[in-house]
Each structure stands twice: as structure tokens, then as C-alpha cells.
């Protein structure tokens, strides 16, 4: 039983609307979320990540598929019977109750005794460092404090899984950073499985054990942040997570697992071939801007060359956009060091180099 998934989603489909105009918000989703995992559903708005979360919470019911919570199918179970709790995007704290009453609500509904509720509420207040606010009205709290109360309220009944629906999106940058660390701490301390929904890739990469990337109702890739970033399964994932250079080309020759790719800009590259590709196929080569290095046009045998289209200063880094012979822009991202200011100017003939293992070839 040790390898039993906390949540197992099998072929879950949820349509909105009827007949011809119905849209699949989640389409045949398969997913297995492990125990004690910080799992993130990542995708642009409208990709179905929130719908998937609401299906797990029980606010929506799937038309097809199974939803298993520790082996029990809960697809048809009403939300008030599911041992999962949600932290809502705008917290949804009860305005007619004090902080303590908000946190104790779930326990009270579960029929716990007054003493048990009070003890647990005290524990939760301490967990989120809000002890001195117990008697306050929720309207007297700041955004960050409301967030903590919402977390405490959802954690109080000790759910088997905690669902978090973009809980940090309403906070300003600094507070968001603080709460990211706070969330990781809470997850470690409580040992509860967290399912976190966000459209913020940075949030997803820094906090998660594993990430599922979604787009238009489909789960495109599930993996560790490193997997998703370094080994994206397709062009959408590569494009959505981080910045990427895409270079179009054709598969010129195949030699075992290695392929030679003729890029449209006239350069040839050698890289591991994508699975199932055959000679003559259209392929896309992806290279992360920070994996490339800028060199002077006449030195060190650069791989790609062209004039500098523009230079964008970013504080920590600088982006150099090189115009290749076929017109596409290739971006090199370099960390700024003292004394480098003005090394390159717009229009300079420059080159870019990158190690062979920075190249990833995608089909199509």
C-alpha cells in the first residue's frame, strides 16, 4: 500500500455547454499524484487546470473517467463528503465570522467537540503565526494575513489532500515570495499532499516536486521541474516554460540515435534525433538563451552568426538578439559582469556558441 497514489485521475473528461457548442475543459486527463507530494498544475488561463482542481474538490463532476482518492472512486461524491480542502483564489473567508471561527468551521461541521475545535484552532493559528489575531474580523486583515487564515482554515481538518487555486496571485511580489517559502514549510511540517494551481512558471518551478503542464484541456507533460525545463516534451511546453530559441530545419541524415539537421539559416547541427523521426522530416531545434554564449563575429568559430539586432539590458542579465541569415532572431542571455558595459553595439557582427548537449530537437 506504500506506493498507493494520493490521487489517481483516469480518463477524466469534463465538458461545458451542450451539443455542438460544448467544450472539453478537461479532456481525457490521466494523472497520478503521489503521497506527500507538492504537485503543481501549470498552464495558461483557460487551459483547464482550475477545472481539474474543482473536479478533485467536488465542485464539478466529470462526465467520463474515474477519480480515485487513496483508491476510492470519489468522482460522484459531493464536496462536503470529500476529505480534501481548498484554499480559494480570493480566500473566500466567511465575513460574518472571526478568524478563529473561520478556522474552526470545518472541524465544527465534522462534529468535533468544542474543546477539540478550540485546541486545533490554537494549533493552526500557531502554525500560520496568527495567534494574536484569533478574535479579529476577517475584514480587518491584510491580504497576506487573510491568506494565512485561508491556509489555516483548509489545513485545520487535516485533509488527505490540500488543493490550492492560485492562492498567491492576489499578493504583491515580495509577499508572494514570502508565502512561497511559507507554503513549502507548511507542506513539510504537515506532510499533506499539496495540489497547487498556477499560471506562474517561476512559482511552479521553485515550489513543486512535480509539475503537470496543461494546455486546452490536455495534460502535455508531467515531470520534475528539471524535466519540464530541460527536457520539454513538445514545443508548447518548451515555449510556455522559460524563454527558448526555436530554429526551423530539416532532418538531413540519421546515424543511429544521432541526427544531422540542416537549419533554415544554412547551418548544420548534430544532435540526438527525436524518437520516431525519419529523414527529410521538418524539425524544430530549441536552445535556451542562457545556454548560449555571445562571441565576437571573427573568433572562436561561432556556430551561428549575424548582426546584433538589439540589446536589452535587464539588470542582472542582458539579452542579445542576433539576426540570422533566414531572418529569425536568436537570443543569447548573458549575466552582466562589471566592466563589460558597451562591449557590443547594435549592428555589430557577432556569433553565438553553445555546447552540443544544449541542443534539443523536437518534431514538427
Amino acid at each position: 500500500m506504500a506506493d498507493l497514489s494520493a490521487i489517481e485521475i483516469r480518463g477524466v473528461t469534463k465538458y461545458y455547454g451542450y451539443g455542438e457548442s460544448r467544450i472539453a475543459a478537461v479532456h481525457g486527463a490521466n494523472l497520478s499524484i503521489r503521497q506527500n507530494e507538492f504537485f503543481t498544475l501549470l498552464g495558461p488561463s483557460g487551459c483547464g487546470k482550475t477545472t481539474l482542481l474543482r473536479l478533485i474538490a467536488g465542485f464539478e463532476f466529470p462526465q467520463e473517467g474515474e477519480l480515485l482518492l487513496y483508491g476510492d472512486n470519489i468522482a460522484e461524491m459531493p464536496p462536503f463528503r470529500r476529505p480534501v480542502n481548498t484554499v480559494f483564489q480570493n480566500y473566500a473567508l466567511f465575513p460574518h465570522m472571526s478568524v478563529a471561527d473561520n478556522i474552526g468551521f470545518g472541524l465544527k461541521m465534522l462534529g468535533k467537540s468544542k474543546d477539540d475545535v478550540a485546541a486545533r484552532v490554537g494549533l493552526m493559528l500557531k502554525l500560520v503565526k496568527m495567534e494574536q489575531f484569533a478574535k479579529r474580523a476577517t475584514s480587518q486583515l491584510s491580504g497576506g494575513q487573510q491568506q494565512r487564515v485561508a491556509l489555516a482554515r483548509a489545513l485545520a481538518p487535516a485533509p488527505k489532500v490540500l488543493l490550492l487555486d492560485e492562492p498567491l496571485s492576489a499578493l504583491d511580489y515580495k509577499l508572494r515570495k514570502e508565502m512561497q517559502i511559507e507554503l513549502k514549510r507548511l507542506q513539510a511540517e504537515t506532510g499533506i499532499t499539496f495540489v497547487f494551481v498556477t499560471h506562474d512558471q517561476e512559482e511552479a518551478l521553485t515550489m513543486s516536486d512535480r509539475v503537470a503542464v496543461m494546455s486546452s484541456g490536455n495534460i502535455l507533460q508531467v515531470g520534475s521541474p528539471r524535466d519540464i525545463y530541460d527536457r520539454p516534451a513538445d514545443r508548447f511546453v518548451a515555449d510556455f516554460i522559460g524563454e527558448t530559441n526555436f530554429l526551423k530545419g530539416r532532418l538531413a541524415s540519421l546515424d543511429g540515435g544521432s541526427a544531422s539537421i540542416a537549419l533554415n539559416c544554412g547551418v548544420s547541427l548534430t544532435a540526438p534525433a527525436p524518437a520516431g523521426a525519419s529523414m527529410g522530416d521538418e524539425v524544430t531545434v530549441m536552445i535556451r538563451p542562457e545556454h548560449a554564449r555571445l562571441v565576437a563575429g571573427n573568433s572562436e568559430s561561432p556556430i551561428l552568426t549575424g548582426p546584433l539586432n538589439d540589446i536589452i539590458y535587464f539588470g542582472t542579465d542582458t539579452y542579445f538578439n542576433i539576426r540570422l541569415s533566414d531572418g529569425t532572431l536568436f537570443t543569447v542571455r548573458q549575466q552582466n559582469r562589471p566592466g563589460e558595459e558597451g562591449s557590443y553595439a547594435q549592428g555589430d557582427q557577432v556569433g553565438a556558441t553553445f555546447p552540443a548537449n544544449a541542443i534539443r530537437v523536437l518534431r514538427g
Partner: protein
């Protein structure tokens, strides 16, 4: 040096005087239109009835005395005015029942409307207000058509074979109650809708998420949050119910009087204006006492839940 301050003080005095002057017409109208008639009624209640109605300008407390007591015409013994008191009692009872029933029917109606998509809510509100377009008397007569022995309900029940002879529904307290709930229901729905529309339905989801059953969500989350609407609606229904005249007179058939009818009787056939005036003021006092008790109770309850 003080002349400057004096100037300012004089300026301010003039300012205040001007404001009073400007609001004087409005104040006069309020005084004459609102307190004037009330004052007349209060004075009339302490005068002697004239032989053909009207009043004779002679001080008497008979009007007030007769609201609560009556003297036997043969042996002069004193007893409570059972007829009047039973009408008071019936009026309060029917008004409270009307308010409760309007709340029971109005609550789901308002909930239904406020959970429709915004585009169709206006249509539903429009439907709710349609009865307001028709004269109250006509609406009441329509209800009479529904309830009478040869009316809609009895005909259907007989045709369906459920009853063999018509049930006497008209001219009962029940008929008055049905009529009043029908007439005053929109006054309950509209304020209820106004506060439900502002209800954040994510709070309902949060309730479900925290193991509250639908009934518990209703009791612990929805009702406390829409309470202001419930109070406003109850007040709007209770006050006109207590003074209702047309509905009890048409559907009660002159037998089942309410306070409004009793007052009309004293000013009309009864030719006892002082008694009518005294009953009117008693009605007002009941309304004010009920309102005060209700608002204070509801207000403190709301405060407690916010504490």
C-alpha cells in the same frame, strides 16, 4: 483685531440662518403633511362623537376607553372589548403569518433569481414586479375568483374527483392570508434579492468544501449573510399587512375583520370618530413597538456574529 473674528462669527450665523430658510418649505410640508394629520387624529381621539359622524368639541376619554373595554348597555358592568381585542389579535396573527409565509416563498424565489446568469436576472425581476402594474383591488378580486366555491381551485378539485362538494375557502382567515401573501410577496422578494445578489457564492463553495451539508450552508452561511435583506423584506411586508384594508374586506367578506376594516367601520357606519382615531393610534404604536423590538433584536444578533 476682534472685528475679524466677529465678522466670521456673523458670517457663519447668516450661513446657518440661510440654510434654515432654504429648507423651510420642505420642513413645512413635512410638518403639515406628516405630523398635521397625526395630530388631528390624536386630538379627535380625545373628543366626543357627533350624532351623524364627525366630532363634538368636548373632551372625553370614551374613545380610548372603548378600544379596550365595553360597558354592558343593560346592567352597566364593565368587560374587555372582546370584539376589538380579537380583531387586534387576528390582525397581528395574520400579519406575522403573512410575513413568515412571504419569507418562506420569497427566499427560494430570490435565491433562484440571484443564481440565474446576469442577463436573465432582469427578466425574472420584471416578472416579479408585474403584479404591481395592476390595481390592488383588481388583484384581490382575481384571488376571490380563484378561491370562491365555483372558483378555480374548487372546480379543479371536483373535476379531479378529489372532493365531491366545494370547500368553503372564501371569507375565512385562510383566504385573507393567501390574499395578503400574494399581494405582499414582491415586497419580500425585492430586498431579499438585493442582498442575495451581493452574496459571494464562493463562500457557499467554501462551506461545502469544509464539510457543511447543503442545509448547514444555508443556516450558517447564506442566512447570516442575507439577513439585512430578510429584515428589510419582513418590515416591508409586516407593516402594510397589519393595516391591510382591501384584502380582508374582499376576501374576509366583512366577517373576518382586521384593524383596517375596524377603523373604517368606526369612521363610517359606526359614526364613532374618536374610537376610530384611538384605534388608529394604537395600530401605529403596535407597528412601532414591533419594529423597534425586531430591529434591535436583529441588529444585536448581527453585531454578535461580527464580534
Amino acid at each position: 483685531m476682534t472685528s475679524h473674528e466677529e465678522l466670521i462669527a456673523r458670517e457663519r450665523q447668516r450661513d446657518i440662518r440661510n440654510r434654515w430658510l432654504l429648507s423651510l418649505p420642505a420642513l413645512l410640508i413635512i410638518l403639515l403633511a406628516a405630523t398635521g394629520p397625526l395630530l388631528v387624529v390624536l386630538i379627535y381621539s380625545f373628543l366626543t362623537p357627533g350624532p351623524y359622524g364627525d366630532v363634538v368639541w368636548k373632551f372625553a376619554t370614551d374613545g380610548w376607553f372603548n378600544v379596550f373595554f365595553e360597558r354592558d348597555i343593560f346592567d352597566d358592568t364593565l368587560s374587555f372589548a372582546d370584539a376589538n381585542l380579537s380583531i387586534f389579535f387576528r390582525s397581528v396573527k395574520l400579519s406575522v403569518l403573512t410575513t413568515i409565509l412571504a419569507l418562506i416563498f420569497g427566499f427560494p424565489t430570490a435565491y433562484f433569481i440571484s443564481t440565474r446568469p446576469p442577463s436573465s436576472r432582469e427578466l425574472w425581476l420584471f416578472v416579479i414586479t408585474i403584479p404591481f402594474w395592476t390595481n390592488l383591488l383588481i388583484r384581490t378580486f382575481a384571488m376571490l375568483e380563484v378561491l370562491r366555491n365555483e372558483g378555480l381551485v374548487n372546480t379543479i378539485l371536483i373535476k379531479a374527483g378529489i372532493i365531491s362538494a366545494p370547500i368553503q375557502m372564501l371569507f375565512t382567515d385562510g383566504a385573507i392570508l393567501v390574499g395578503m401573501v400574494y399581494v405582499y410577496l414582491p415586497l419580500m422578494v425585492l430586498p431579499l434579492y438585493a442582498s442575495m445578489e451581493k452574496l459571494d457564492f464562493r463562500l457557499v463553495e467554501a462551506g461545502y468544501d469544509l464539510y457543511a451539508t447543503p442545509f448547514q450552508v444555508l443556516r450558517k452561511i447564506i442566512i447570516p449573510l442575507v439577513k439585512p435583506g430578510m429584515i428589510a423584506g419582513s418590515i416591508l411586508v409586516f407593516i402594510p399587512s397589519l393595516g391591510a384594508y382591501v384584502t380582508p374586506s374582499v376576501l374576509g367578506g366583512g366577517k373576518n375583520l382586521m384593524l383596517g376594516n375596524l377603523i373604517e367601520l368606526q369612521f363610517g357606519q359606526g359614526r364613532n370618530w374618536p374610537l376610530g382615531s384611538a384605534i388608529s393610534i394604537t395600530l401605529m404604536v403596535i407597528v412601532m413597538a414591533a419594529l423597534l423590538a425586531y430591529v434591535r433584536n436583529a441588529g444585536s444578533a448581527a453585531e454578535r456574529s461580527h464580534g
